[in-house]
Structure formats: structure tokens, C-alpha cells
């Protein structure tokens, strides 16, 4: 992996994210980059299912929300240290996803998609009724949680670097899986599941594993995000907009590509910045996302990377 140029491209991107806001102590830039890092994390993990295995997961936000809840709850009610609760959130959500994935591994195609919609609605309804997690009013964190990190100002920087690390791990993971045997198996499932099974790909296991792996980093990202805002409630944790945006980003950049997803996240973040500041469009964010997705699905199913590959075939060798 170290000998491949693409590995170093990812490393440079991470370095840029980590260094640029530190120069000049630019908090505003940091806030916009942390959002971009979050988008890249969510979209590239979604891409493991969507782009590689060809399975759409409408409930990917569940990982993010549950991770956030577990982390915030551990910090708040059991005063766990931040690092331990972040890790616990990632591991437990990933295990839950594996259990659930093994449960629904017999479902294929559209049935699986329906099940993931159900997961989203079911988990949200559960959390809204679960009193230890504050029901629909949520959990507030006291600002003292950042004391071990040297106060809130320091703490927010630490959270930012952790989020960038999670983003970097997501990109390495996407790339690592893509060039591994596991990744080839997933891509084969995406192209023709029956043929893949006949050729010896353990399709149910691979699907469940992909589902579980794609839960780990988003859960940690959720933990980081809600530690940062010091407040979590069901409508934020299971926000339809965010999971929709992850799908739009993955499709915009080009499903199944690592570069495309990062590029798509960046472009979408720019577009969103424009939409939020514009008077007419600020209320119609979902509409714009919907129209964008529809146009991509109807006319450019390959996304941005599909276009780049067609125009410059040589890039196929370098950009995954």
C-alpha cells in the first residue's frame, strides 16, 4: 500500500486539513473544515455499501446518531474519559450493525433497502422513548468535560484533529478495502450477486461485514460531533438531511470511487455554503439536494469521477 501513489495523495489531503487552520489560528476555517471532514467520513463509509456492494443504506445516519448518543451518555452519566467513550461508541455500534447485518443478510436488493429505512425509523422511535437517554429532550453536557484537555478552547481543537483523523482513517479504509480481496468480493457482489456467489464469494458474510465496518468510523464521528456541540437530541442525531446529504455526496462524486467521494463532499460543502447564505434557497435545501440527486441518477450515474475517467483515461491509474 505504501508504494502506491494514491496512498500518498490521501496523506497529503489529511496533512492539509490538519495544518492549514492551525496557521493563523483560524477558528472560522476550522468550523467549515470540520463539517467537510464529517461529510467525507459519512459519505466514504456509506460508499462501502453503496458504491462497492451496490446496496443502498438509507439508514446510515443511525450509526452517527447512535454513536453520538452512546458517547455522550457514557461521558455524562458514567463520567468515562472522552477517548474511552469514543472508542466504546464505535465498537458497540459496529457490533450492533454486525448483529443486525447477520440478521438481515438473507435480504437482497430492495428488501435490504426497505429494512434500512425501518432501522432508521425504529431506532429513532426507540431513542425518543428511552428515558435514560433523556427521551425526546435529549442530553446536555456540562462544559467541564473539556477540563482534562485544558479547557473548551483547547478541547475544540483536539476534537477537530480527532475528526480529521477519523476522516483520514475513512479514506485509508475505503482505499485499503478497494485493493483487498474483501473489496474485490464486494465489487463482484455489486456487479452480479449470483455470479459472485457461484465464484465462491461468501456474499452474506461480506455484506454483513461491510455493513458493520461502515458503522465504526461514523459512530466515532457522531461521538465527536455531539461532544463538540455538548448537546444531543433525537431530531439532530437522526437528522434525515445528513444521511440524505451523504447519499448525494457519494453519487455526486462518483459511487465506488475514493477520490470522488472526497471531491463530492468538498463540492457539496461549497454549494451548501452558497445555499445557506442565499435568501431564496435557505428554506429549500432539501429540494436542491433532491433535484441534484435526481439529475445525477437520471443522467450521470457515474458522477464526477465517471466524467473525469472518460475525459482523461490516464487518471484511472492514479486516482481510485
Amino acid at each position: 500500500m505504501l508504494a502506491r501513489p494514491f496512498f500518498w495523495i490521501i496523506t497529503v489531503v489529511i496533512a492539509v486539513f490538519a495544518i492549514v487552520p492551525v496557521i493563523g489560528n483560524d477558528v472560522e476555517l476550522r468550523e467549515s473544515l470540520i463539517l467537510a471532514a464529517l461529510y467525507i467520513t459519512l459519505a466514504s463509509n456509506l460508499n462501502l455499501m453503496l458504491g462497492y456492494a451496490g446496496y443502498i443504506n438509507f439508514g446510515s445516519i443511525v450509526f452517527f446518531g447512535l454513536g453520538g448518543y452512546i458517547c455522550v451518555w457514557l461521558v455524562n452519566a458514567h463520567s468515562w474519559p472522552l477517548s474511552a467513550s469514543l472508542l466504546a461508541a464505535g465498537v458497540s455500534v459496529s457490533l450492533l450493525a454486525l448483529l443486525f447485518g447477520l440478521g438481515i443478510l438473507r435480504l437482497r436488493g430492495a428488501f435490504f433497502a426497505l429494512a434500512t429505512i425501518g432501522v432508521n425509523e425504529g431506532i429513532q422511535a426507540f431513542v425518543e422513548n428511552f428515558t435514560p437517554w433523556g427521551g425526546s429532550s435529549g442530553i446536555y453536557l456540562s462544559p467541564t468535560i473539556f477540563d482534562p484537555l485544558g479547557g473548551p478552547t483547547q478541547g475544540l481543537w483536539v476534537i477537530y484533529f480527532l475528526m480529521v483523523a477519523v476522516m483520514g482513517l475513512s479514506l485509508y479504509l475505503s482505499y485499503g478495502i478497494k485493493i483487498s480481496k474483501f473489496g474485490f468480493g464486494l465489487l463482484a457482489i455489486g456487479q452480479n450477486e449470483d455470479a459472485a456467489a457461484i465464484l465462491g464469494v461468501p456474499t452474506p458474510l461480506y455484506k454483513a461485514l461491510a455493513y458493520s465496518v461502515s458503522a465504526f468510523l461514523p459512530a466515532i464521528a457522531g461521538g465527536l460531533y455531539f461532544l463538540k456541540s455538548s448537546f444531543i437530541q433525537p431530531s439532530d442525531a437522526f437528522d434525515l438531511t445528513l444521511s440524505t446529504e451523504a447519499i448525494v455526496i457519494a453519487m455526486l462524486g462518483g459511487q465506488g470511487t475514493v477520490t470522488g467521494v472526497a471531491l463530492g463532499a468538498y463540492l457539496y460543502e461549497e454549494l451548501r455554503g452558497f445555499l445557506l447564505t442565499s435568501e431564496t434557497f435557505s428554506h429549500f435545501q432539501l429540494v436542491v439536494a433532491g433535484v441534484l440527486l435526481l439529475v445525477i441518477v437520471l443522467f450521470f450515474p457515474g458522477g464526477l469521477m465517471g466524467f473525469i475517467y472518460r475525459q482523461f483515461p490516464r487518471t484511472k491509474k492514479v486516482l481510485e
Partner: protein
């Protein structure tokens, strides 16, 4: 001192009433799911705008009764016709290019239309609940009165379902729809205009959703975002009845209503969705073809 124990017979009557009520509402769920399952059966496309179309029916009810003073049940006709037109439009915008391609693509395209619809309606109407008062005399049995709107909605849903069944089995167009569902190539060979039939099927599916939206709107308050939970109920009902099987969908709807009625006296309302979801996953895993599916391609 102990509180007075409620009369045992009264408790039993309450549970019985709740079950009957559940079954009545179940007919409406069944009708809604028939729209979902018809589209699936004919072209293997899952219509993720279903929830939004239900909500469109609810708001058609609200605006026509509120602004024009129309009788609530008279809204069924414009909902039927409007739904048909919107459905045909939906087919040409989002589904036509997706038929025969992997389910991923049609899921995404209908999902994006759903986003647009929800986005526009949230921006214009907000998320506050709306309510349409309907007064229909109920039927009294002993000390309990079964609410009139529930009974009327169930009867209307059953009648519309019967009409759909007759349409599919005894009209030329209905037979063409079944033929296309059975085998599209073969249908094309015997000169059935398949594209037109597909468009009309989506139209009928959407108009069933809109009509059920009107009926649900006469029973419960609703918001712009109500569609999601009814759409999930629709999925539960369709997998109970077997995707692509309208008669199974009606049975599945009644079964779901029965379940809701059974659990309602014992469990807080907000937990029903979780129970339904658990049922949904269990059914999907243990009966991938549906509980009431007698044979494949039952359309």
C-alpha cells in the same frame, strides 16, 4: 386504601373496542399498501414517494374542506383523479428510465423526488399538525360507541379495494396490467403498449396512496412529515402480504391494524412504531415472500 378496581367487563370491552378499531383502520392501511405493492408487482420498483403522496391526499382533504367547504368524503374523487395524473407524471420523470435497471437506481430516483416534495411542503406549510373535523354518527354497542368516521373509512377502503380487484381482473386495461406484471416481453409481443401500461400502473398506485391519505386524514391529525411513518406501515403491510400482491396487501393491512389494536391498550402509542418495525424485520427474514402470498406473481 386500595383504589377501586375497574370493572373487569369494562376493561374487556375496552380491549375489544380497541381491536375492532384497529381492524377498521387496518382496511385503510391495506388500501394504502395496495398502491405500493401494485407498482412493485408490475415493474419491480419501490415507490419511495408513497409517504409524500399520502400526505398530498391529506392536504388535499384539508384545503378542499377548509377553503371550499366541500364534504370530506367528496374529496376522494379529486384525490383519485389528481393522484392518477401526478402518478403518470412521476412515471415519466423518475421511473421510466429506471425500469429494468438495478433496484438501487429506482430507489434513488424516487427517493430524490420524495426529498423535493417534502422540502417544498415543509418550506411552505411548516411542520405544525393539521386536523380536519369530521362528524359521522357512530354505532353503539352496549356502553361503547364505535366512531363513525372509522367505520365509514373502512367501508370505503374495502369498496375501493374491491373496485381495484374488479378492474384488474375484468377490464381490458386491468388484464393488460396483469399481463405486463407477469412478463413484460411477452406482453409486448402480443401488442400491449407496455410503456403506457407501466405509466398507468404508477398512476393507479399513486392515486390509491392519495385516496388513502384522504381517508387517514379524516381519522387522525397529520403533519407534513406524517408520510414517513405511514410509508413504513405500508412496507410492513406489503411484506406481510407479499410484495406485488394487492389482495395480500389488504389482508396484511387488516393484520397490522389488528396488531395495533391488540397492543394499544397495553403499550404507549409511541412504542407501536418500534413493535411494527420489529415485526417487519422478523417477517422479512422468516417469510421473504410474504405471509399471505399463496404463489408468486399473484397479481
Amino acid at each position: 386504601m386500595q383504589p377501586p378496581r375497574p370493572d373487569r367487563r369494562f376493561v374487556m370491552l375496552g380491549i375489544f373496542a380497541s381491536i375492532v378499531d384497529g381492524i377498521l383502520v387496518g382496511f385503510v392501511y391495506g388500501l394504502a399498501a395496495m398502491g405500493l405493492t401494485l407498482i412493485w408487482g408490475v415493474m419491480d420498483v419501490i415507490n419511495l414517494t408513497h409517504g409524500a403522496m399520502l400526505v398530498a391526499g391529506m392536504f388535499a382533504l384539508y384545503f378542499l374542506t377548509d377553503a371550499l367547504g366541500v364534504t370530506p368524503y367528496a374529496v376522494l374523487l379529486p384525490a383519485l383523479i389528481g393522484g392518477l395524473m401526478v402518478g403518470i407524471l412521476l412515471y415519466w420523470i423518475a421511473i421510466h428510465r429506471m425500469v429494468g435497471r438495478p433496484p438501487l437506481m429506482s430507489l434513488l430516483s424516487t427517493f430524490s423526488v420524495n426529498l423535493v416534495l417534502i422540502g417544498i411542503s415543509t418550506a411552505m406549510l411548516g411542520t405544525a399538525p393539521f386536523n380536519v373535523p369530521v362528524s359521522v354518527p357512530g354505532i353503539s354497542v352496549g356502553r361503547y360507541t364505535f366512531p363513525g368516521p372509522h367505520i365509514l373509512a373502512a367501508v370505503l377502503a374495502a369498496v375501493i379495494a374491491l373496485l381495484l380487484y374488479l378492474f384488474l381482473h375484468y377490464t381490458r386495461l386491468g388484464k393488460a396490467i396483469r399481463a405486463v406484471a407477469n412478463n413484460r416481453q411477452a406482453a409486448e409481443l402480443v401488442a400491449i403498449p407496455t410503456t403506457r401500461v407501466l405509466a398507468i400502473s404508477v398512476g393507479i398506485g399513486v392515486s390509491l396512496a392519495a385516496v388513502s391519505g384522504v381517508l387517514i386524514g379524516t381519522l387522525f391529525p397529520f403533519t407534513v412529515l406524517s408520510g414517513d411513518s405511514y410509508q413504513l406501515k405500508g412496507f410492513v403491510v406489503t411484506v406481510l402480504g407479499g410484495l406485488g400482491n394487492p389482495v395480500g396487501a389488504l389482508l396484511g393491512g387488516v393484520a397490522l391494524g389488528l396488531l395495533e389494536g391488540l397492543v394499544a391498550p397495553f403499550v404507549p402509542v409511541s412504542w407501536t412504531l418500534i413493535i411494527e418495525f420489529a415485526l417487519f424485520v422478523l417477517v422479512l427474514i422468516s417469510f421473504p415472500d410474504g405471509v399471505f402470498a399463496s404463489r408468486r406473481g399473484a397479481l
